[in-house]
């Protein structure tokens, strides 16, 4: 069963203990009075809310008064009380509560309520998220995403960690969608820009502030006003940029390039990186004060190899509205056996390749042709080379073949990243020297080819 986010509004400490024990395995939050409950319902993300009818000795049915708020937030509301008069029950249902729970036999009753919730609206809501917005059947990932959603509507900065292609941007978009913020979701990949370009992208610029600045341009910070600023690959940001951004995050104000007045923007930060944050901190690549500002709550996403139950649902999602793919049993097993080092991005590309080039049932041979290299890596042996690569090495020597392979990888990466060198440097983990040498060689080869 998925881990649910549950709010228990209960003034009696003994009853809270009882609820806590009986709801073990779920993320349970407590509020002991009406004000705390209102605050939590407004800012948190809960699947179920158990509301005690009377909160305190002289309370006037606060539990009933909280129902409309819980219902408006889409929370499955359950009123619990030892006072079960017809009138109270009718009022609770009229206000939109889903169940009226008479205290006692908690173990059985709570299990039954949760089972009904899973079958009913709440189950549908969770199912909707995990089969549409963020596709996963992996219980641990579901639990992590559900936990993160609890913080979606808060002002806390969130940090998403995980290898490339694990769905960091998708999760950031989901968190924005649940944040209740009216503004835009504005994403920027910090690795795709040089320092100067990143500064103008983030802060914007005024007309005439530099050569080529023919008009005023809003930066990402301004675009994310009342919305979410998603900073991807923050590890690639220079120390200097981190200082500037830290100030902007703290003060919610910044100076566009060439501006003499500050601009204000109410943005919420979600950041992501595929790198080891502790290592970045230890190496001094990530400033501690900047890190402190952006890591309010950290969510780790697992690579696809550790959540293989997601492979087939993701494939289904990638083919939605397109030609449906049918796989031989052996081909399907091979897919599940593969480690998908490029994660969902690799899986998507694979589905597109297969979808475009295959008629009828997809065979094991077809699958192998497209994903053999990584399968070989999984077995711990060298990747097989193509016949053409092998022939080239025999004819020109290993060093020339390696150079050619390197240049091919760089050219493909640049093509996939729209020619952005900073992205190639970060993604291929190569030095500037190697990148420029490869580009010079490619240019020379092209010149020779053109005569």
């Amino acid at each position: 069963m998925s881990k649910l986010n549950i709010l228990v509004v209960e003034d009696d400490p003994l009853s809270r203990e009882v609820m806590d024990s009986n709801l073990a395995g779920h993320a349970v939050d407590f509020a002991s009075d009406k004000a705390a409950a209102e605050r939590k319902l407004k800012t948190g993300h809960y699947d179920i809310c158990f509301l005690d009818l009377l909160l305190g000795d002289n309370d006037d049915y606060s539990g009933l008064k909280l129902i409309p708020l819980a219902v408006s937030k889409g929370v499955y509301s359950v009123v619990m009380s030892s006072c079960d008069t017809e009138e109270t029950i009718s009022r609770a249902y009229a206000l939109g509560c889903k169940e009226f729970y008479v205290k006692g036999n908690e173990q059985q009753n709570l299990a039954a309520i949760i089972a009904r919730y899973m079958r009913d609206d709440g189950g549908k809501k969770a199912q909707q998220i995990f089969s549409g917005d963020f596709i996963t059947n992996d219980p641990e990932t579901r639990s992590r995403v559900s936990e993160a959603l609890k913080y979606a509507a808060t002002e806390l900065p969130l940090m998403i960690l995980g290898p490339s292609g694990t769905g960091k941007t998708t999760l950031a978009q989901l968190l924005h969608a649940h944040s209740g913020r009216d503004g835009n979701f504005v994403a920027i990949n910090c690795a795709a820009y040089t320092e100067d370009l990143l500064e103008s992208e983030l802060f914007g610029y005024k007309r005439g502030s530099f050569t080529g600045a023919h008009e005023n341009r809003k930066g990402k910070l301004a675009q994310a006003d009342k919305g979410t600023l998603f900073l991807d690959e923050i590890g690639a940001m220079s120390q200097n940029m981190q200082v500037k951004l830290l100030k902007a995050i703290e003060e919610k104000s910044f100076y566009p390039l060439g501006a003499d007045k500050p601009e204000y923007s109410d943005f919420r930060v979600i950041s992501a990186t595929l790198e080891d944050v502790q290592k970045l901190l230890a190496e001094g690549k990530l400033r501690f004060d900047f890190f402190q500002r952006v890591h309010g709550m950290t969510i780790g996403l697992k690579p696809l190899a550790q959540r293989k139950c997601d492979i087939l649902p993701l494939m289904q999602a990638f083919t939605k509205g397109k030609k449906r793919l049918a796989f031989e049993l052996a081909a399907r097993d091979h897919l599940l056996d593969h480690n998908w080092p490029g994660n969902t991005r690799e899986l998507k590309r694979f589905v597109e390749l297969i979808g475009a080039g295959t008629q009828g049932v997809v065979t094991l041979e077809t699958v192998r042709r497209h994903i053999t290299p990584a399968a070989a890596q999984r077995r711990g042996i060298a990747e097989p080379v193509t016949q053409a690569q092998y022939d080239y090495a025999l004819e020109h020597g290993l060093s020339a073949a390696v150079d050619r392979f390197t240049e091919g990888l760089i050219a493909r990466n640049l093509s996939e990243n729209g020619g952005k060198k900073a992205a190639a440097l970060a993604q291929l983990k190569i030095s500037k020297c190697l990148l420029y040498a490869a580009l010079a060689k490619a240019r020379k080869a092209e010149e020779n080819h053109n005569g």
Partner: protein, 60 residues
């Protein structure tokens, strides 16, 4: 809700809480068990107080 109704409500609520906690006790971890027992004592004292209040109040 009239005062006497509130007393009955609170009595039922505390008694149900005690019953549920008693069902929970056998499976409690030692540190949690001590905490639950302390809370049960408080609830029992509250029941005692509510009963005294009920005795002192007007009889139906």
């Amino acid at each position: 809700m009239a005062d006497v109704e509130k007393i009955y409500h609170n009595l039922k609520s505390r008694a149900v809480g005690l019953k549920s906690a008693a069902e929970l006790l056998p499976n409690c971890a030692p540190e949690k068990r001590d905490k639950v027992i302390a809370l049960m004592r408080d609830a029992a004292k509250e029941i005692e107080r509510l009963l005294t209040e009920l005795e002192a109040g007007p009889r139906p």
